[in-house]
């Protein structure tokens, strides 16, 4: 094998310019794919992290029908204490669940005493909410950042609302809400802090203490609109979702349908569609890479066979078995693939390293000054490398087969 590769290497060096051009194409393709995967992968991970760690959590449990009507935040579809307890018990049984947080969500009017606007309010248990969405405290751009997320009588509002309503930390505001029975109630709050905007649902929500929310809505029982769940390992999402759905499937309403629903973050966030689009684009760019390698290697190998027909006739005449001739040309394709892959990987890793040393700052939707820190896993690099080498081998197969099947006499007569 070493003999074959050594001679294959010499043959590649014979047409230096052509070999370099082919290698360059493979390198460009490799760099494009690896950089795309690194950048989009990091962007995706960062956005998913933002969504799961500062708003949604990894999973949410609602009463059936709540998500379908989520735009109106229907109070009549809140979970009753019995259902909340059932969810709590089920979550206790699942190791991968790190923590969970009950929320009371409702639409309300926000007033600074001169102007009024609408607001979506989350009534949360400050300690459990901070543990379930740990990036949320870090999103406070003004006001208190330490201590409890929000105290009783305090409200956290998004920056857009603060600017629009010209209110600041420490100001007193009024939140007016309609309860389930249709009666209106109002309560004053002091603005504790202001959060930065974030794209997606919940990105512009305000936060108050869950007891204040129940008080404002005049709830007689400790109802909950949703339960957000944080997993210790997000990779377990699919498994935990299945386990939880099974665990909560027992209870049913009079129509014999499950009372509770479990949704993953991807089912609740429109960003999941964007993530799917990114995955689709990754597949597309991989197809482009395969095409580049296939066409360039096949082209160079077809030329190599055509230009060396007499030489192939000579080595066949002196007794080189067809299988050895086949392996000689496959060896050339293999070397092109391996060298191209090695160079492409090295260049890609260097660029990724440089992007981490000199990071790129960008804005996405409401979020400003996001830092792009691309990274790529060894398995992903190995997968792409194997694909390129495999395609290079595949591209050389037909020319190599042709070379091995050449009739020595015809080949020796070739001019």
């Amino acid at each position: 094998m070493l003999d074959v590769l050594q001679i294959a290497g010499r043959n590649l060096s014979r047409y230096r310019r052509r070999t370099l051009l082919t290698l360059l194409l493979i390198v460009i393709g490799m760099v494009a794919v690896l950089l795309f995967i690194a950048v989009t992968g990091s962007f995706k991970a960062m956005m998913v992290g933002q969504i799961t760690d500062s708003v949604l959590g990894h999973l949410e449990v609602h009463r059936k029908g709540y998500v379908a009507s989520i735009d109106t935040l229907p109070l009549n579809l809140n979970m009753q204490p019995g259902a909340v307890a059932r969810v709590g018990e089920a979550l206790e049984q699942i190791d991968a669940v790190e923590t969970w947080s009950p929320r009371v969500k409702f639409g309300a009017m926000f007033s600074n005493f001169t102007e009024t606007t609408s607001i979506r309010v989350n009534g949360v248990d400050p300690g459990r909410e901070a543990a379930t969405v740990p990036l949320l405290p870090g999103r406070m751009i003004e006001g208190a950042r330490d201590g409890a997320l929000v105290g009783k009588g305090e409200i956290v509002i998004p920056v857009l609302l603060a600017r629009g309503m010209k209110v600041a930390v420490g100001d007193t505001v009024v939140v007016v809400a309609t309860n389930r029975d249709g009666s209106v109630n109002g309560k004053t709050f002091v603005i504790r802090s202001i959060t930065e905007g974030i794209s997606g649902p919940g990105g512009r929500d305000g936060y108050i203490h869950i007891d204040d929310a129940r008080d404002l809505l005049r709830m007689k029982e400790a109802e909950v609109s949703e339960i957000a769940i944080r997993l210790s390992d997000p990779a377990q999402l699919e498994r935990v979702t299945g386990v939880l759905r099974q665990a909560l499937a027992g209870g049913s309403n009079p129509e014999a349908k499950p009372v509770l629903e479990v949704h993953t973050w991807a089912e609740l966030s429109p960003f999941a569609s964007l993530a799917k689009m990114i995955d689709l684009m990754t597949v597309f760019i991989k197809v482009v890479l395969v095409s580049i390698v296939l066409v360039s290697v096949m082209n160079v190998m077809v030329m190599a066979v055509y230009e060396r027909i007499r030489e192939i006739g000579t080595i066949a005449a002196i007794g080189t078995p067809p299988s050895r001739i086949l392996s000689l040309f496959l060896g050339e394709g293999l070397l092109l693939g391996v060298i191209g892959t090695a160079l492409g990987t090295a260049v890609s890793l260097a660029v990724i390293y440089a992007l981490n040393v000199w990071p790129v700052h960008f804005a996405f939707g409401q979020q400003q000054d996001l830092v792009l820190a691309p990274e790529i896993g060894a398995l992903q690099v190995a997968g792409i490398a194997l694909m390129v080498v495999g395609v290079a081998l595949l591209a050389s197969l037909q020319p190599a087969w042709k070379a091995a099947r050449l009739d020595p006499i015809d080949a020796l007569r070739h001019v």
């Binding site: 001679i7 043959n11 014979r14 005449a317 002196i318």
Partner: protein
């Protein structure tokens, strides 16, 4: 025991419906360690005969036995193996692998065809390089060698795997007269040193005079056999 025995050997090429007979009922015998020339004008069938003796082509009819093997029965792979084991080739255009040095070209059959161990390979290649007087040019590539030097390397390559027979199709056609003589002389010396049978084709009357046995071909038929040694003894 004869090395090559041809009996009523015929080769017909077909191009569509047209049949072109290249060899018409040839009979001849070649003995081991002989120095044989097939001579005749272009198109007389010299190359076709050498191709069949070299297991590169099959007869259309008749029998051709080389080293007790009926070459008509060899398939593509077996023919390649047979050539690699017993037959060396020298070509008119030298046909050295351009990316390999003289040493590597000679080593090629041992490395890629027979897979000799490295130490034994080196010993054999050096022996042949010395035998053809090319040890000083061992590291030169074909584009750095003269025509005569290239053909010396080709002779060494043909002999390196201890071939029983070397076939040379017009080996001197691309060489000047002096160089051509030196190559023929080298081939004869190699025959003496290694006991290898050399069979070559030529249409150069001066070169054909150097052969010990000459078969004259014309229009696909072997017209005569002339043995210089028999003539000398007579």
């Amino acid at each position: 025991m004869s090395l090559v025995i041809a009996s009523d050997l015929t080769k017909i090429y077909r191009a569509g419906d047209i049949e072109v007979p290249a060899i018409k009922g040839a009979d001849f015998v070649i003995e081991p360690a002989s120095f044989v020339a097939f001579v005749g004008p272009s198109g007389s069938g010299k190359s076709t005969l050498l191709n069949m003796i070299g297991c590169l082509d099959h007869p259309s009819s008749g029998t051709l036995t080389v080293l007790d093997t009926d070459i008509a029965k060899l398939d593509r792979r077996a023919a390649a193996e047979f050539r690699g084991k017993y037959i060396g080739f020298i070509f008119q255009d030298f046909n050295l692998v351009p990316v390999l040095t003289a040493y590597e070209n000679i080593e090629y059959p041992l490395r890629m065809v027979q897979q000799w161990p490295a130490a034994k390979r080196r010993e054999q290649v050096m022996r042949l390089l010395t035998a053809v007087g090319m040890e000083a040019q061992a590291d030169k590539r074909p584009d750095q060698m003269s025509g005569g030097q290239k053909q010396r390397v080709a002779v060494a390559r043909a002999l390196v795997s201890n071939a029983r027979m070397v076939l040379a199709d017009e080996p001197t056609a691309n060489l000047d007269h002096d160089t051509a003589y030196r190559i023929i002389e080298l081939m004869r010396r190699m025959r003496d040193e290694f006991g290898t049978t050399f069979i070559f084709s030529t249409h150069d009357p001066k070169i054909m005079a150097e052969a010990e046995v000459t078969f004259t071909l014309e229009d696909g038929r072997v017209l005569s056999r002339n043995n210089q040694q028999e003539v000398a003894h007579a």
